[in-house]
Amino acid sequence: MILGIQIVGVLFGLAMLYITFLHGKRKEFTSKEGIFWIVAWVGFIILVVFPNVLDFIASDLLNISRTLDFLIILGFIFLIGISFYNYVLIRKGQKKLEDLVRKLALKK
């Protein structure tokens, strides 16, 4: 992997670790969630520093010549997945809000 990208990737991973730590300190998520995200960011940093770890998946299994391409594809899949998840959450929230506001209005 290109050194420049690796440096950016590591710095990004470290920044996200710090942000996760701050949110955890403010108790904005549970300790289980905190541990999950710490493992995720550490895993991310390891993959950036040692991209060869993924070679057997990327080149041997999936026939993707460059590990960077594989990571980009993974990134897109993750973004699409999380967008859909956010969509579902927002729709649920909208429905709950509407039901509550209507209930209050009809209390008359």
Binding site: L97, E98, V101, R102, L104, A105, L106, K108
Partner: protein, 217 residues
Amino acid sequence: MNVWVVIPARNEQKTIGSVVASTKRLYKNVVVVDDGSTDKTKVIAAKNKAIVLSHAVNLGKGAALKTGCDYAVKNGAVVLVVMDADAQHNPQDISQFLEKMKNVDIVFGYRKLDQNMPFIFKVGNTFINHLTFLLYGIKLHDTQCGFRAFSSASYRKIRWHSPDYSMESEMISNAGRYKLRYVEVPIKTVYKDRYKGTTVMDGIKIAMNMVWWKLRR
């Protein structure tokens, strides 16, 4: 016939007074659903003796109409008439709707595509009208006109999920699904604010929703 007129309103303090007053002269049960207005809409509506229901936050026209219609049905409405709060609809036209309601389940008002209708509305309306016919087999001159009447029995079938302007089309989609008998009535419309109401983005969203509702059926 126990007729209830339901008027969703948001920041319509300039017109709600005259709309309610002129409607109350003709029909006893007038419900205004104030959808999170930041002006004096609900105060003026109440002063003119409308039944005022108030949303704590703005939810959208579809949600406001559902609140009003649910309330009306709960209180014994047999026929529901829905109209806009911005004085674009003339309450005197309601009698035409009620006359037609004797033989059908739902009456759609339609605005004539005359020179007073802003050009962008004409184009958008024409497109959505054609799309409605293509998807649901329902031929209407004006699928986006908010002046309509339906029975409370029909309301249970056409009751929509959309909280916003898409509800005009969703109502039609549901009417098509349940094969409700319908008819159209021409109405006069006054366009006071060229930039209010359904925008181009709303129109695109409505069109996409119409395809989705068709697939969902």
